[in-house]
Subunit: 355 residues, 3 copies
């Protein structure tokens, strides 16, 4: 351990972009940050997230510049976050504003700060291509959380798998019939044979699937009083930092599957996927629904079944990745359902190249 005084920013070499930079990534949900700080690593950078006593969200490098303790082991106090070892206090910009027992605070006593924004109860953190790059646009809005038309809840999962395997999974819902029979699955053949439409822009991909006249799966019948067969839809929208999945169903023949204001049972999923390292990631999800009766109870049922579903995905994806490691760099063959996921991969590659 060499001990000398340095400028933290200067000491940090420019990282090789393993991930798209100059982007907002999901760092958490507002409701996670109460009086305690949270330590999380994003894009290989350990970060401490906290909320000041005044309610402002802050993100600093998770390392006290004195003896390297994670600041997330410390406490939130008036003025900022205090290190849990020798008590140095840092404000939301990373400046040290108190060294107990010492009047003079060296100018170098500073930790790097990150841009963080709250938007619709989602926390977004900016990773720039250089350490002083300022956000050039605002994080996305997500009014499902704010419109009051839905009840929702969510959770945070940690994946021992690279983030793009989670994209693949979410972009291709044909796996529902094999992986999620207990919840949102339904008949496998119906899923695989569903009419599928893929559209893509520069930075988004959209996959729409319609399954008219199909049997509603367990989660659907538990949450909604369907009369029999249903017309079912899935609309998946990929962005580099999150996906939006709108799925649902209405009694067969009672609605136009292209009508944006259609009725029936809705599940609106927010899926923030943020790399932790090249081989691990965070998965921030919320699911919103429109209960027609017993709202709180129905919401809880939908959330519980969503958890079951995402737990099943986690098992599959982590098993898949372990096997990829076992077999090394081996080519894969494509099938018809891979069009959407492959478009998403191209966008990630392009954004990485541009960072």
């Amino acid at each position: 351990m060499s001990v000398q005084i340095v400028e933290p920013r200067a000491a940090e070499p420019a990282p090789t972009p393993q991930f798209p930079l100059d982007q907002w990534y999901v760092a958490g949900f507002s409701w996670e940050l109460k009086d305690k700080p949270i330590g999380r690593t994003f894009l290989n950078k350990p970060i401490v997230l906290f909320r000041t006593l005044e309610g402002d969200f802050c993100a600093l490098e998770n390392r006290c510049c004195h003896r390297a303790l994670p600041l997330s082991d410390g406490t939130v106090e008036e003025g900022g976050i205090r290190c849990g070892y020798h008590g140095l206090l840092f404000d939301g910009t990373g400046r040290c504003i108190d060294i107990p027992g010492q009047t003079k605070i060296p100018g170098k006593a500073i930790v790097p700060a990150y841009h963080i924004r709250e938007q619709d109860q989602i926390l977004w953190i900016w990773f720039g291509s250089s350490s002083d790059s300022e956000p050039s646009f605002e994080p996305p809005q997500y009014d499902v959380h704010s419109s009051g038309r839905y009840l929702f809840d969510g959770d945070v999962y940690h994946y021992d798998a690279p983030w793009q395997l989670v994209h693949d999974n979410l972009m291709d819902l044909s796996h529902l019939g094999y992986v999620h029979l207990r919840t949102i699955g339904g008949n496998a053949k119906v899923h695989m044979n569903a009419e599928m439409k893929v559209e893509a822009g520069d930075e988004w991909v959209r996959v729409v699937r319609h399954m008219p006249g199909s049997t509603p799966p367990p989660t659907y019948t538990a949450a909604f009083p369907f009369k029999g067969e249903v017309d079912r839809w899935q609309e998946i929208e990929f962005h580099v930092n999150h996906l939006r999945i709108w799925s649902g169903a209405a009694d067969a023949g009672t609605c136009d599957l292209n009508d944006p204001n259609r009725g029936g049972f809705h599940m609106k999923g927010f899926h923030g996927v943020t790399p932790e390292t090249e081989t691990t990631c965070h998965y921030f999800w919320s699911v919103a629904t429109n209960p027609v009766r017993d709202p709180e109870e129905t919401k809880q049922k939908v959330i519980e079944q969503s958890k079951m579903t995402f737990d099943e995905d986690k098992v599959v994806i982590e098993s898949q990745y372990k096997n990829m490691l076992r077999f090394g760099d081996r080519p894969m063959i494509d099938i018809h359902v891979d069009v959407g996921p492959n478009r998403a991969r191209k966008i990630v590659e392009k954004l990485k190249a541009h960072s």
Copy 2:
């Protein structure tokens, strides 16, 4: 993850032989394979074992050629094994015979298959020196399992130690007096001073030890009504893929220890040792006995005590290997009991060189 269509066999580079090739290795016992597939790695190759609805045993590379999920996470269905992610179905030869939602099945949708044989309830898998090498001989017979003269049972252990350390242990039963005092041990000095005969052929080693006039150990007296002292024997036969150990005892002076049809209490052990990797292995054992009273109860007692014995071996061998790793490549000194194990090591070296 690069995604392109390739010939699986062509993509597999010739492996450096770390293990003797063109050999049958034990893959499991027939009774292990019911309606679910089993994933196991042999000689660094992850394999899925399954039994078709028709009862045929199959062994495929444990990786779906679509998105690399282990096929052992899938289900056995009519026609073969179905992947648990997107539902591709493979028959016992590794050919994909169904891609849900897609009529055309690409010729490249195939996973490598391995030769597997059932013989006397033991499953043998062939590892050739090239990916298309055909078995040039049949796996060994083991009529102890089939003759009806013995009751037996067995189990499968996983070792965090190289396979040859298990050979060493089984080839030299002088450790019984130190490691297995609770079960088959007996007096240490008697074991160490027993008359020992070692014979060897090109691909086998045979160690025979006689301990006349010795005290029967706990497992023996629990299973057989000995009158007092016993004449005890151990006959160990090493083959590259398994060992056979015939041990037992008769009341002192009542039998000829060289008579192959001698009476008394018998334990016949089958010990399949198959490398998983260079540093880990599978250990498939069965123990058969000839109860003279309460057959099922006696057999269970013998099996229970055998488990205890093999658990003790596992503790010792894994501790030994951990220590070898701590100390690195350090020479060892030999003592008199090492003749048998060292002959077995020479056979393995020779067979590796010839692969």
Copy 3:
């Protein structure tokens, strides 16, 4: 595994000194060694410690020279320690004195032995700069354990952190106000603002801090009938292989903090810190106190609170080290309390260079 007969000492290459050599290090406390051997690694060398039936302390390389099983898996018997695999018996000098079943004992059947000394219930082991270097001085005395003036107890902790981070922690007690509020903490500002005196010699550092008129912390009031405010002191003495920390307090104004025979409540800590590897260490501590009432009960209370305190340190130091690994070789800034720890680091560097 190559098997040949060699001279163990000759086979051992001279180690690069990562640690000060030609030093005594703490190996344990006398009361730990009863009838069973203990395996511990010091300075990257796996060692077995045992006490012969005659009561002598011995330290050997923890590896049977036959098949490398740790000797700590064996048993202490008349004459020495017997390996738990094939029964080789080694005396306290490492010489093999019995190979069961074999009359001739090869001269090479020997394991390296280490110099070990018991002094005041502390076991010291010598690590020389060459394998045949003899101790050139005696291990330190610690009469707190022997004078009869104190009651004491202690424990052994394993740290997933380099030994010098434990030095840093013990040399700078200003962290008490942040880490140990439940036990020996007291007011953080008082600690940080305490008058501090640092003295150093060639191989020692001494930090003295006085906190007159301060509030006694929980451990102090639980153990001693203070009337109100106290005059508190901490005297820390660093040596390369252990630290001595004398802390305590007397009712404010009732004693001279420079009088070596002052009264009040005393805690005398012995802190043996011995590297296990470059990144892990052992921490052997004892705490002695001078109860004025209910001696055994008071001692137990002090020991219990000391355990809590040292548990808190372990959490902080291991978290700190994990974070240092995350961030790699990054400089740190110093504050006023770092004078003592930094002097200690210089001594370790100097002693390493001289080894």
